[in-house]
Amino acid sequence: MDKSIFASMPSLTPSLGFASMIGLGLFSLALSYAVKTLLVRNTHDFIIADRRVGFGFGVASVISVWTWAMAVMMSSAMTFQWGLSGLFWFVVPNGLAVMAMIPFARVLRRNMPEGYTISEFIQYRFERSRVATGIVTLTMIFGIILEILINLKGTSVVVSTVFGIDWKVATIVGIVCVLAYSYFGGLWTSVLTGTLNTLMITVPAAIIVAAVFAAVPGGSEAVFNAVGDAGAQNLSVLRPDAAAGFGITLAFGLLAATVSDQTFWQKVWAIKSRDVGRTFLWAGALFYPIPICLGMLGLVGIAAGLTPADIGGDIAAIGPYIVAHIGLPLTLVLLYVLVILAACYSTIDGASSALSSIVAVDIVKRYFPATPERLLFPITKFSVLLGGVIATIIVLSGVDFTTLVLTTYALKTSILLPLILAILWPKTNTVGFVGGVVASIAIGMPIYEMVGELAGTLSIVAIGGLAVVGCGLMDSKEFDVTQLRRVSDEIASPAPGAE
């Protein structure tokens, strides 16, 4: 088995690429308009879906926002780079990170049933500390913009690679498609389109991977043997260099990505309270097969002896390269592009919806509490567009967004243990929380820069936790969590005719 099985496909024209992007956007727009008519009347419905998201929609929408376009590609890429150890370390913490939300989600939903955002929780948890609340709000906004940015960038790369469309044009078309439909129905739109996108990710992924192996001469057996011949370590999940190289750091990063992400907290307060725990359990468990399935494409890359140079230098392109060059029928290649587009669109609309909840609750209602519903609703809807516009400008400007990635990483990782302790440990106090976050950035980030990712990440997490525990033990006061039950609904549905 060698590289000769790959050949470029001349029928993948730019117009097919535009048709895929715009077609999915128009379909979602039609659904979104129906959602707006049937389920959304006010800001409360728009940002929290009237807290009526059921179990099925909850599971599917959590999976959809967690399945990033890059994750679809990275599962193949990590397998390609590290063999099955890469897939193991990429997959296992991924589902676990979703299930790790369960204890925190249950505590907050039980004790603060009328909540909207994690920043709102911090506001009441730390006696309206502007610093603590500001740090969390900023972290959430940075995280959301980065989510949109990475998905947008990943998708534009895939679409431009497969269809030969200019990547800047692909970026603009992609974001216009997502924002057009996200604008209408808010969270309900994100949940419903995300659910359908999960279908578009799962079933086509299975068919495409099976078709790729059917297209390889000798099938799965030939791939298996060639992968083993290329290096016995490729078929092992126990490579220590994969764990040290990215696995352990990724595990912490993923945990921070869910617990420190308003996209997930918005769902915690939007899903029916009786279904919150099991929704995250099912979502985490059912998420696992997606990267396992797509990771198999990485084995084909190893078996054929492809190198990063063969696929344009970026190993993330291994999946798209194999699917577009192995001689599959055009419909299957388009189906694969749809898998990536579905992952991209659902993550961006989920992030945009989360941003709208932050704008409504943590900015407008916090600083301008008298804002009437007739003004709040259009502001909230408009804010859906904000993250996408900012992310597009950053992507199109061509600037290196390493600084944004590092800043968001520093904020999210440093906030991880202080946030967990704020939820679970009543002795956590404001000084400890703020001090923990500041100390872990001030001390941990230089360690990260000097010593490396693994030691740096562990230092950031440990410093934050130690500072919170130290300050908590020095203070005799305990937070009475039942106080949170008295937090009123900031954006309750106005009574009919009240506005």
Binding site: F55, F57, V91, V92, C293, G295
Partner: protein
């Protein structure tokens, strides 16, 4: 195997879409009814199930390195994801 996955994929998609239709219908009915949702969060033992799902996933990845037939476990399992979501819509209890 490709044909089997194609057929199972169609079945999984059908179950998913049937569930989606049920979920959407229930959501619209509940929204129109407008009755407040209960706020209790039931105790739910999830640790065992979570551990099982992690172990199964890790084991399947390890088994791919043992025999070539396990390569198809991923595609078959992901159809389980689609079907599982469909089932989730039927498991859920619409609000009274």
């Amino acid at each position: 195997m490709y044909t089997l996955i194609l057929v199972l994929g169609i079945c999984a998609a059908a179950l998913f879409l049937a569930g989606f239709a049920r979920g959407l219908r229930n959501a619209v009915i509940e929204y129109r009814r407008g009755k407040p949702e209960p706020t209790e969060v039931p105790d739910y033992n999830y640790v065992g199930m979570a551990a099982i799902s992690v172990v199964i996933s890790a084991t399947v990845i390890a088994l791919v390195g043992v025999a070539p037939m396990w390569i198809y476990a991923g595609p078959l399992m992901v159809l389980g994801t689609a079907a599982g979501i469909g089932v989730a819509f039927f498991v859920e209890r619409p609000s009274a």
